[in-house]
Symmetry: C5
Subunit: 311 residues, 5 copies
């Protein structure tokens, strides 16, 4: 990993004044790794699709992905800032690829062999697991909008405290879902901004949300957005509002794609994230479900847009 | 912080004979801080609206408030006795503003992306968090009237015991809510006095309730209030009854506003709190949703009413 | 506290052969305190009505009772054996009145802002709290008849074990209530005797029940009471049966009043407790809801009936 | 207690090869105690009826039984191998009768002031309690057939592990009950054998079941019993099948009576237990609900049948 | 146990790079034991049928099986790689057969005296139990498809972490079941592959699933399998797909039979497992419900197919 750093990374680290040097060290490792190292932008490869949707739906398109080592290699070769996966996938490569890329151990997971109206996740890993596997961070998903959310928040709190006490970074996937929301509302801009804010209030260092639509879900919120003329018309404006909602940009917020149809649309989304002041992307299926050369090219383009070498 | 104290502060501290010198030290820090330092009156700035209602509804009116540092500065510049917020907001400024204002870490929170008939809150912080962030107190909300109340009381008990053992002050937000009560009953005088009493019995050093209405919710209580002619006709009388109900005034009780329409109404409420023997106000949205100069002026007026420099 | 003791107290202590000298010391403190000290009879002042019914219903009749110090003073001046209250009320006077009267910390409580078909209570204090406040005993309520009873029994078990390991006495309020019983059945003689027996089996040193009626609630019990001609016609006989049901009188059983209309009726009840071999009374509302001189006179009469100076 | 032992006791101890010498010592104390000491047969006096059915239904027939000391004396004088009771009853005599009879602390209990479709029990004692009271064993009830059974199994597992680690014996009352079974099915031979097997698999050293009827409850089991011609026509055959089902007789299985009408029927049942290879009886109500001389005579006859001095 | 090893065993061990030498030692003990020792193939004897279906249904066909020692002997004599059973069965033979065959302690179990729509299991043993009984592994069942699955996953996580920290192997029985699935879906190829993948992601070293049918249960999965032309027409192809879904063959996956009618069909299934790259079989009822000589012959044939001495 990089032994020097940049002003931008130093600036980002300065936002986390309550964290230990240990946690800042691990956060800087993520910010300094890969193609975007030092730029303050990040692209993370997450591979929990096998758990979330099943192995066939995840890897049949590019069967190399059945092998857990494939994703370590893809993340390293493509120059990602970090690779995130559940316990089993990380255990299957952590020794072979030790020290080659920052790792995020996803501490909870959900599957679809049973589907709930108000989903929650199983805790599938521990802070101690993250430490023994050499990870820089833990990852945790919350479902604002679900009746199970309060318990998820409380569990995150406990895991986050333990992670910070051990010098790890806390990455939170904040996915609105459940009977409190309409389907459209799950990605509404008011809901997305709210979900990002909750994650930050729960102590997340890095927040991950979906790209928001212009939909406004909750009536009292809609009224304020309209009265105060909060600009949410374009995707870049919505990204900007989410970043603003996450402690005025003083927490790292990254985005996953909406239902992108083609690469050009993905690249446009990346431009909107960049223009809106977002900190980067987390790209799973769009990466590992392609053949390797295409995936590398695709990710290189994404990174080029972020670091300014491509418009 | 003040290094000398006043007779009134000493008197207040004398009510807490079962607490350690450590807790009294932190309580005196709150009582001696800010414009009202030493008067025995308090104005506290709480900013958990982002979590409770979402960032847009909370900060769009005064976008400076998206930045967690804004609220530290507002609390300090306006001369508040303390600033209360959830984990994320405190982590984002505790180092920069270390030692400049007493901090209260709110240990539980609720959001409105899912709404329950019988609400409860997620535990979002710990006593250990409060200690590492340099706080003087923990804050905790209970919902008397909710079917989840017993569990909330029990959790508060455990957190309160740990807080006291570590020399922290315990501040309890007691908000009647849930299927045990009518909407009007949530702020009825019998219910409010009861809610304040429960908080004190649970070991709170400082109790926070809403300003009560003259409504009497529960039939057996109504009968006693009428038979015994408990004076609850004016707001000041109701404040006095709440103070009386909280160990005959030997616990600090502060109030948040009702649905105030204009500033004059708020000032009248403050006068009623003062005249009824209340110990002060906790003022969130009415402070941070204004532009900074207006907020400072508004809070200065509130404090002037409390310390007698304004009628 | 008394430094000599009586044969009767020594006899009572002899029933608790599995307890430590520490617990016996605290039990003897209760038995040797106050007007009835040394007689083996007890009158205890309990003040948890503020939590259970609200402050207005509890203290409006005698507003001096809003002040937690009032009850310490009443218990001391009236010569009670002990004073029992929740955490807040004890914290508010434990230093001022340290060593003047044995204290019982009530470790669980219930309020009526929400009412359940099958009630339970919140745990509101700990054994450690009891120790730091200088108490001689913990108090705990169980609701036989409620679907929540098994969990209440199990929690009592754990708290009782901890209390005994720390030399404290365990006092159990056993109040039949919940969907397993008819309203009348809550005080039926079969149910009351059963409730007292359960408390003793759970390891209580002192059991508190309500005065039973002659009603027989459960059919299989009714059959046995009738077949075996268990005498339960008079109140004294019913008291005797409850005492018998509590380890043949080898556990201290005290009683609270039924819906007494006038003082004479209360005194008659006390005579029945005395004549039936009961160990005393626990008298709350009938004490602290009177003006002080009346309360002292009333309690003096109760104690005089117990120690034989009055018929 | 006996300081020499017999071949039969040594043989029984040999079945418990995974247990510590501490546990074997306590098991041998039970096997060597009383009239049947050394024979490998056991008669145990259990007195938890007061908790399970109430004191009146339990003790009114023979009021001496209200006194907890009565049961210690009865067990000792009648020559039982052990006495089993809940916490309160054991605490009330453990010092007075220390060392005179092996004690089993029943760690969970159920009452009938509330009755559930799917019953469970409250945990009412601990391994630590058993140790401080000088017990040789813990007792624990499970209800196979109840929806609460899995939690009961898991709790037994934890208590059993702790008991074994402290050198205690684990006695399991396995009582099929709950909505998974018909009333008749609760004592069906397939269900009884299954219940005994589960207890043994959960690590019980001694298993207690009810005497089974010839009823076959579950269709798939019925089919096998009929196809394989498992002999279950006589009570002795059914006992033999239960013993076989409990690790081919390598675990001690004892029986409680069915709804016996007269003594002769009980004695016939004892003969069937003996002839079927059962290890003994646990006899509660039939013992302590008689006047003392009758009880001693009754138990002497039972023991005489077991040790062969009476047919 | 074998003191030399083979290239194939070394290769398999190399897949578990995040495990301690202690765990690898125990895994190699299983791989090197018995007839198939060193081949990388395994046959395991599991006997939890007594708990799962009752003793009569399990052992009446071959009554020798009532004796727990029978299964130790059968596993040893037949040359199995390991013997798996619940606590009671292992305790009953662990000393007598110490060191003669690798043991797997099954840490959770289910019975059928109560049947749930969404099943779960009771925890019936601990890692500490496994260690004191000399086991090489813990076994744990999960039910993907049940509403109780998340809790089962989380419990497995905790037990697995403790097992690994103590040098034990983690074997997971992954049995899709519950209201999320149709009856046919429980063994559908998409569901089986998914279930195996979840177990591996949860950190299992060895995964046990049922032989899958060609049924495709979930519409989104069906679409992918058809679009991507995943070959699942033959049993060998389906085995291959399950192995692929379990980290591209880098986790040991073993299979239990479908509803086999005759031995020839079982042998055909074993051939399919072998041809599809599966690692072996776990064979319970088909082994211990036969007379001993037949069972030995049957298992010898199975092993011969695996090690290539028989086609």
């Amino acid at each position: 990993m990089a032994t020097t750093t940049t002003d931008r990374v130093r600036e980002i680290l300065s936002w986390y004044g309550s964290d230990s040097p240990g946690t800042l060290t691990n956060l800087s490792r993520m910010l300094n790794a890969g193609t975007l190292g030092g730029t303050g932008k990040m692209v993370i490869l997450p591979v929990d699709q096998g758990f979330e949707h099943g192995p066939g739906r995840s890897f049949a398109k590019n069967p190399a992905g059945y092998d857990p080592r494939y994703h370590f290699q893809l993340a390293i070769e493509s120059g990602c800032n970090a690779y995130a996966a559940p316990l089993g996938f990380l255990e299957a490569g952590a020794r072979e690829f030790a020290g080659q890329i920052p790792l995020i151990l996803k501490l909870n997971n959900h599957d679809v062999l049973y589907e709930e109206k108000d989903p929650e996740q199983a805790v599938t890993g521990s802070v101690r697991d993250a430490l023994r596997l050499g990870c820089v961070a833990i990852g945790y998903t919350i479902y604002p909008g679900s009746s199970a959310r309060l318990e998820m928040f409380s569990t995150l709190r406990a895991l986050g405290e333990e992670a910070k006490a051990n010098g790890l970074v806390v990455v939170v996937w904040s996915y609105p879902r459940g009977s409190g929301l309409s389907k459209e509302g799950e990605t509404g801009i008011d809901v997305t901004a709210y979900a990002a804010h909750i994650a930050a209030q729960l102590g997340a260092h890095i927040v991950k949300v979906k790209l928001p639509s212009a939909h406004l879900e909750q009536a009292p919120a809609k009224k304020v957005y309209e009265t105060e003329k909060v600009p949410v018309g374009t995707l870049a404006e919505r990204v900007r509002h989410v970043v603003q909602s996450t402690f005025a940009g003083r927490r790292v917020v990254i985005f996953s794609g909406g239902p992108a149809v083609g690469d050009d649309q993905v690249f446009d989304e990346v431009r909107a994230i960049r223009d809106g002041g977002g900190f980067g992307s987390i790209i799973g299926r769009n990466s590992f479900q392609r053949k390797n050369p295409e995936a590398l090219k695709f990710l290189a383009t994404v990174m080029a847009i972020y670091n300014g070498t491509q418009k």
